[in-house]
Amino acid sequence: MDTKLSRRDFLKLAGSFAVAPALPTWMPRMAFAPQGVEPPGDILVVVFQRGGMDGISAVIPHGDGDYYQHRSALAIPEPEDGSDQTGIDLDGFFGLHPSLRPLKDLWDEKTLAIVHAVGSPDPTHSHFDAMDYMERGTPGEKSIPTGWIGRHLQTAPWQNESPFRAIGMGGVMQAALRGPIPVTTLKSISDFHLQGDVSQLTEIRARLESLYNLGSTLDAEAMETFNAVDMLDKIDVTNYTPSGAAVYPETEFGMAMKQVAQIAKAEIGLEVACVDIGGWDTHNQQGQLEGELPTLLNEFSSGLASLYHDLGDRAERVTIVTMSEFGRRVRENGSEGTDHGHGNCMFVLGGGVNGGKVYGEWPGLAPEKLFDGIDLDIKTDYRHVLGEVVEKRLKNPSLGEVFPTYSDWKNLGIVQG
């Protein structure tokens, strides 16, 4: 049976550590600035590509002849200078899908690194198990109820009581955030305030606080909501203009990335933001240079690039990491799509990234090199990438607690520090 401990159980266990109301909750709360020690490390933005991105269409191994053997309708043509109908060469072996063009400048200025043939070693082809394992940070193991980011926040050697320490965009709490530290979920900053009879809002707010202080399982979440509302109250949300000529895609993902920038710039204690982008489960007619996957890749890359440019100098202290539950089958299927696979690629972007390089050993796509005879093999455990970011960029040395089932660490040198 499922015996996982819910977040609220945790909050009960964690007691006063997580939320310590010193004042009676019905009193108007003092707006507070993050208390305690300033986090020493970067802001982390985790982008999860839900559905399983086709990593060998995103970052094509054009130097591996077998790539073109497996894919007839879907292979991205070998790079040709000046063409927007071919891959964009990176290092003579790998290239970007042309729809990832917005990332090329970042590669050139060495703030974007790519890791290929990377992923979670558990062989499952189930979306839900694969996502679950990846977000727990314990592939193959479901007994640890927290997520890897939740454990990072829990073990970090500093405190930060801001309700915006960790945020889940899209109004959901991503499983990676599970743990004792409260998380604020957000859909829209501008709507994040209490509504009703305006002449009574102060009174209403006070009564709501009292109703959510009677010992229900929802009390901690409600307290977090009140705190977040108070803090956002001080940000001018209506007049936000992105910097650096950033133009975010007009999609949920684009809007989420824009709001991450807004919160990061507001300096209200943000340490981790999780953002989802769905639609990667391209079993059918995924599209080669145009269509479903290219459209998504474009949305994804312009969202990443816009956030980076919008952050300006602050990008020096921000690291963006992307992941997806698995890659897709090397051989395309009969409906010009791809089924669930294994190995994939990840993007790591930020001022502290040793970019301009594809990291990881490439296993090759020759039939005998494929995992289980069908999938791109995984030569780099995704936890190496995350571990390096946690230790060097976020400055949390407790990797053993963040990734408790893993010990075989390798230093890949993807990030500085």
């Binding site: 062989p123 189930s126 957000l186 859909k187 009703g196 009677l214 010992g215 929802l218 769905g278 079993h283």
Partner: protein
Amino acid sequence: MPVNRRDFLKMSGLFAAWSALSSCAPVVPILDSPTATPDSIATPTLPLDDEALIIHTLKRISFGATPAMIEKAKRIGIHAFIEEQLSPESISDDETKDMLEQFSTLTMTPAELFRLEKKGTPVQELIAATITRQWHSERQLFETMVDFWGNHFSIFIGKNFCKVLKTDDDQKVIRPNALGKFRDLLHASAHSPAMLVYLDQAESRGESPNENYARELMELHTVGVDSGYSHHDVAELARVLTGWTITRPRNRKTEPGIYEFNPEIHDNGEKHVMHMMISPGGEDEGTQVLDMLASHASTAQFISSKLARRFVSDSPSPELVDALSNVFIQSDGDTRQTLRALFDSESFKASAGQKFKKPLDFFISALRLTDTTVKRSTRGLQEHLRLLGQVPFTWQPPDGFPDNEEYWATTSGLLERWNFGLLLMSNQIKGAEVDLKALTKDAASPEDVVSVLSLRFLGEQLPDDARSIMVDFASSGNIEDNIPSIAGLILGSPHFQVR
């Protein structure tokens, strides 16, 4: 090309008028009935007395226990009430039927739907009809099970042909089988053009099958991911199902959007699925595997655990799941029998207040219990359901909307609920109207106002601590001015978030 959720929401504008009619359920005076033991969402639940058991049961088998339902269940007894709900055809539901007449696409054939100029219309109408039924139908348990199976066999309505075909799935797959045998439902779903399109089965060809449907058929529809099948089983099942496809809208020789088996794209070799050898047999191969999956012990466990999570708690006891699973097996997958056993179980009776309402449960229960009426447009209500996060059929992955507190009880989720309740009760949602005078009747004192509204919205009084907070608020200033906020606060209270 599949349309993503965002495009789809933009494009469709969503929902026609759900209904301009109001529910005119009589308000039954039940104020003088003995006060029930309050559901507690903090302390372990004690055994319930008769009245409390009625309220608890009604909250679980409906989208909101109205005074009329409570009165009836008290009159005929909860057992008889459940039995009646388990035979929905015996319950007259003319009012709902009348309301649905405005949705002309509901009963159209796929061919007629394909001919429509505006492909968004069937999407809007199906969503609107679903909400209308959940809101107004007398067949509440039936609608609850339609919602349950609609999520079990989830189809994202924004994906290409699903825009027109989900109407057909709802009409011919989910609704006729919602209280029937699981085997029939499974077979119907496997022949559903909308499902075959949604999970790409319609595109799967013998030489290089598409595994999407085969995988989810095992993982999400039947035996579950931990039942021990391998990737090889998935690949073999995908081979078995090659040829299960639909007629195309562009092919003028056939009526479009109908299931068909196409032997030309079927893989005729021998296959092995979960230790079962399948000899070449065309379409019959798939039928054999569906029967095997329907009667598999892991399927009984999987369905039972989902039913227990829906009706009892987010983490039901293994004993309950085993007991339900036995009934499921012995009754040949009979949903009615399994539900009877569930409602009869001690676990069920001891679970009052332990289920967090999904956003849709919250939304519909608020509309039902406040006797909200719609004037002209539902645009305002639509927008709130979107913000709450659960417009029917818009969950993109194939696992259906989550049904647990952990997923839905978030900061933004709570805030949306508070705002919806407060805005609805102060008549600030465009197109929606609430008559608070009718709800509070003759209540004049702060105590009476809080009592009447609590009983109406919760089916029982608030526990003393919450009640005194509300009475204190009601006593501050002019009671008339405070009533909308009092009502809104009860809808926003922790007590209204659970059922």
